[in-house]
């Protein structure tokens, strides 16, 4: 149905309980106003959200999957970066 002329947009939705906008998917639109309206119609029909962000997909820069081992593997053996070595008093909840 689509002739490929309209740019692609990434859609981020914040749910009622959510604190942050989460990536919901992508869609086509001629400009930002239409992208927000399309996002409303495509991604919030089942009460998924109360706030919408859109950004043109071309402005998203991604890390290179080929570099995954050098980027992420070195964190594997650095357990001391997790704050799990503290003795917490019993009264302290939700930590």
């Amino acid at each position: 149905m689509h002739d490929g002329q309209w740019p692609l947009w990434e859609v981020f939705i914040r749910s009622k309980q959510g604190l942050d906008h989460k990536h919901a998917g992508s869609l086509h639109a001629a400009d930002a106003a239409m992208a927000i309206e399309n996002a409303r119609d495509v991604y919030t029909r089942r009460m998924e959200g109360v706030s919408i962000w859109v950004v043109e997909s071309k402005y998203i820069h991604a890390s290179n999957p080929d570099e995954a081992s050098s980027l992420y593997d070195p964190a594997n053996d650095k357990v001391y970066r997790h704050p799990t070595f503290y003795d917490l008093p019993d009264e302290l909840k939700h930590m």
């Binding site: 869609l27 001629a30 239409m34 309206e37 409303r40």
Partner: protein, 251 residues
């Protein structure tokens, strides 16, 4: 068939919403792009939802064994009380958009007034529907501007659509007999002050869309009293086919 004014009024409002909802649903699967296919189908569902509340209310007023389904599927074209604008054929995307815009702008001000009806049921339906219509108006306004102020081709198509649809807008502001009777009682909306509000909004959007208001003086009417254009018959033939062939059929 002639019901008391109160029932005719509920049917008039229900038929308006249902027929336009059905028209829009004819686009489902055929929209120019996926996102707009969904957008128009959402609007169709909103309108059919509004018509259900109104048909259920009318059915309660009629009493006996009448149901919303009997009212939607069991009446003939001359029983329908919708305005002529909503039954016009879809044409191209531009005509569908313009029809939606002209009607949503009317519904927006209309429901805004129906909120103050002495009939609490109608007022409650208006309150719920107004939120939906506010979005329909916003969505269709954006599209009128986009197409009117778009390419040479899209502008020409919008002018052609305007030519075809404008003559059906006059009826929106001329009360039928049942409306006159009910507006004295504060139940029906007084349509007279709606005209300038509607025209103001249409002019505003048209100015941005580089479209000008036609000055055609002749307006066709009759839909609200059951005198319809040929298009309604075809629409009903398709919409009511199953229930007329297998009355009361459920699945």
């Amino acid at each position: 068939m002639g019901y008391p004014a109160h029932i005719e009024y509920a049917l008039h409002l229900a038929d308006n919403a249902m027929i336009l909802g059905h028209r829009n649903s004819e686009w489902t699967g055929y929209g120019p792009i996926l996102e707009q296919d969904i957008a128009l189908s959402n609007i169709a569902l909103d309108l059919i939802g509004q018509s259900r509340y109104l048909y259920q209310y009318a059915a309660r007023l009629i009493g006996s064994d009448t149901t919303e389904d009997i009212l939607a599927y069991g009446r003939d074209a001359w029983d329908f009380r919708n305005c002529l604008l909503v039954e016009q054929d879809n044409g191209d995307w531009g005509k569908t958009i313009l029809r939606q815009f002209l009607f949503s702008a009317w519904q927006f001000y209309f429901y805004g007034q129906l909120l103050h009806s002495q009939d609490r049921e109608l007022a409650a339906i208006a309150e719920k529907s107004l939120k939906e219509v506010t979005y329909h108006l916003r969505w269709s306004s954006e599209w009128v501007i986009r197409l009117g102020d778009g390419t040479e081709e899209s502008h020409a198509r919008m002018e052609r659509a305007l030519d075809q649809l404008w003559k059906f807008t006059g009826e929106l502001f001329v009360p039928a007999g049942y409306e006159r009777a009910l507006s004295v009682a504060g139940i029906a909306v007084d349509l007279t002050p709606l005209g300038p509000m509607w025209r103001g909004r249409v002019e505003e959007v048209f100015a941005e869309a580089q479209l000008s208001l036609p000055d055609a003086a002749w307006m066709q009417r009759g839909g609200k009293e059951g005198r319809h254009t040929e298009h309604l018959g075809y629409l009903l033939a398709e919409m009511q086919f199953l229930q007329k062939t297998y009355p009361g059929c459920e699945w």
